[in-house]
Amino acid sequence: MTTPSPGTAEPQRPVYYEAQILAAADLTAAVEHARDHAARHDRHLHDWGIAAGLGLSVQPTGEDDAVTVTLQPGVAIDGTGREVVVPGAVTLSEAQFAESVGSGSADGASHPVFLSGLDRAPVAGSFLDDGQADRVDESYQLRFRRAGDERLVTEQQAPESAAGPGDGTDPWLILIGYVTWRAGHFTGLGTAGSVPVRFAGVRADTVAARSGTLALRARPEPAQGGAVLTVADTSGLVFGRYLADGSVDPLLTVTPDGDLTVRGTGAAQRPGATAVVSGVATDGTILPLPAGVDPAKVTSGTTVLHVTVTPHTDGTPPSADGVWLPGQVECGVDDARRVRCRTRWLRIDTDARTWRDLPGAASFTVIATAAEQGSGA
C-alpha cells in the first residue's frame, strides 16, 4: 500500500454511532470536512480573486502630497480556495510599508499591495482562559512589496486537487492594488503594471438560466449604457446596451429563426451589396454612412457612395414683415459628406431689392455600393 503525499489523500467524512464518546478531533473533523469541501468548490469551479469590495481609496492628509490609503471591506477567494474576509475599512500602515519596503522604494514607482488569509489564535478574552484555544480567527494580512514584485502573483502554484484551504503559513498573495510612496508617506494609488488586480471568476462548461433569459454583462450592476449579451428562447441572441429603465437597446440581434439585424457601422457589407441611409440634416453636419459600411473602404474607393440632398423649402423667412420668397443658392455635400445648404430670401413686396442668405436643412439619401470581389480598386 502506498502512502499518499500531503494533499493527495482521499477526503474523509466523519460518521458517528449511538453512545459514542466524541473527542475534540471528531468534532473538528466534521468542521474540516465541510471547510475542505467549500475550498475545493471555490478553487475548482471559480478563478481566485476579489469577489466583492476590497478597493483602495485615498484621502489627502493636508501635508504636502501625502495621502491616507484605505482598504474598503470585502471578500476574496485565494488560490487555495480559502475565503478571505476584510470585515471593515482598514487604513494602510505607513510604518509597515517603511519596514517592509523602506529604501527599496523609488519616487513615483507603483508598489504592489497584497492581501492574504491567515489563521490566528484569538486574543485572550478573560482570566479564565486556560490557554487551550477553542476558536481560530480566520483573519488576513496586508503586505507591501517593491515595484515589480507583483509578478509573484503569477508564480504561485495551486495546491493538490484534494487539498483543503491554506492556513496562511504559506501565504497566497492576492493583489489588491498599487500605492506610490515618497519621503515616508503614501502619495497616491499607483498604476497597474504587468499584473492587474484580479477578480474572482467562474469555471463552467455549461451556464444555464432558469428564467428563460441568460444575461452576460461587463459590470456587476446593469448601469445605463453598459454592454450586455442576452440569450433567450423568445428573442434569440441580443447584444445591446442598457437603457435607463433597465431594458436593453438591441444593437445586434439573431432571432431564433436565424434572422440577423445589425445597427451601427461595424457590420461588414457583403461585396456587391447596396446599403442605404436617409434622413434630414441641417447645414454643417456630416452625413452618416449606412450601417455596415467601412469608412476605410469608402476612402479607398472599394465602396462607392451616391449622395443625394434635397433642400427643405419650408424654411423661415428673415423677418415677419413683408413677403419673402426663397431660392436655393447652394445645397450639396463636400468631400467629407458635410452638408452645405444655403437659401437666399428675396423680399418681393417692396421695390427695394432686399435679400438675405440663411442656412437651411436638407433631406438626404446616402447609397453605398460595395465593389464585387476582384473588381474593387
Binding site: R241, D249, R263, V277, S278, G279, V280, A281, T282, D283, G284, T285, I286, L287, P288, H312, D314, G315, T316, P317, P318, S319, A320, A336, R338, R342, A352, R353, T354, W355, R356, D357, L358, P359, G360, A361
Partner: protein
C-alpha cells in the same frame, strides 16, 4: 425616429440636427463623428452686407451630442432651442429659448432678442434687460481672420458684455450664444 442634436456644452444651444430614418440612434461619445473637427456655421450675405458667407467654426471640443425628442421647428431654426442639462446629462426634452413668440412659434425671429454690435476695438453683446442670474456666453467671431471661440458670462445684474478685440476694416460674422436666449448670428461691416 428621435433626432440627434449637437449642442454647445457651455450654453446648451442646439447648433445642428441630424434625423436619420430607421431604428433609434444612440448619441456618439463625442461630436466629432457628426461635425468633424468643428461645426462651421456662417453669417450669410445680405443686401446690406453682400459678399461670401463668413465662416463661424465652433470647435468639436465645445460641442456635445444628444438624442432628443422631436420638436416642431427644430430642423428649421436649431438656434431657437436649448438642451436641458440635468446633473451633467442632457434630458430628452428641448426648451424653446426666449424670447418666445406665442403667435409665430419658434420660426420667425422675434423682437427683443440678444443684439450684437461691432466696433474697431470690441464686440458687444447686449440683452434686452439686466439678467437676474449670471449667464454663460459663447462667442465666435469670423471675418478677416477667424478667432478662437471665447467662453465667458454676463454677470448677474448686467445686460451687456464687451469682448475686447482688434477688428480691422472688413466684413465680420459673429455667433453669440447667451444661455437661455435664442442664438444670434450677426453679420456686419466695419469701415
Amino acid at each position: 425616429m428621435r433626432p440627434l442634436v449637437v449642442y454647445a456644452g457651455h450654453t446648451a444651444h442646439v447648433l445642428a440636427v441630424l434625423a436619420r430614418t430607421g431604428p433609434e440612434q444612440l448619441a456618439p461619445d463625442s461630436a466629432e463623428p457628426l461635425v468633424g473637427d468643428a461645426l462651421t456655421l456662417w453669417a450669410g450675405g445680405s443686401d446690406e452686407a453682400p459678399g461670401d458667407p463668413v465662416p463661424l467654426p465652433v470647435p468639436a471640443g465645445d460641442l456635445v451630442p444628444a438624442v432628443v425628442e422631436e420638436q416642431p421647428g427644430l430642423l428649421t431654426v436649431p438656434l431657437a432651442f436649448g438642451v436641458q442639462v440635468i446633473g451633467g446629462e442632457a434630458g430628452p426634452d428641448l426648451r424653446l429659448l426666449q424670447p418666445g413668440d406665442p403667435d409665430g412659434g419658434p420660426l420667425i425671429p422675434p423682437a427683443g432678442n440678444v443684439t450684437v454690435t461691432l466696433a474697431a476695438d470690441r464686440v458687444v453683446v447686449t440683452l434686452p434687460a439686466p439678467t437676474t442670474v449670471a449667464l454663460p456666453v459663447l462667442l465666435v467671431v469670423g471675418g478677416e481672420r477667424t478667432r478662437p471661440a471665447v467662453r465667458d458670462q454676463i454677470d448677474q445684474g448686467a445686460s451687456v458684455k464687451e469682448f475686447r478685440m482688434n477688428l480691422e476694416p472688413g466684413t465680420y460674422g459673429v455667433l453669440a450664444l447667451v444661455a437661455s436666449w435664442r442664438g444670434v448670428i450677426h453679420r456686419g461691416v466695419l469701415s
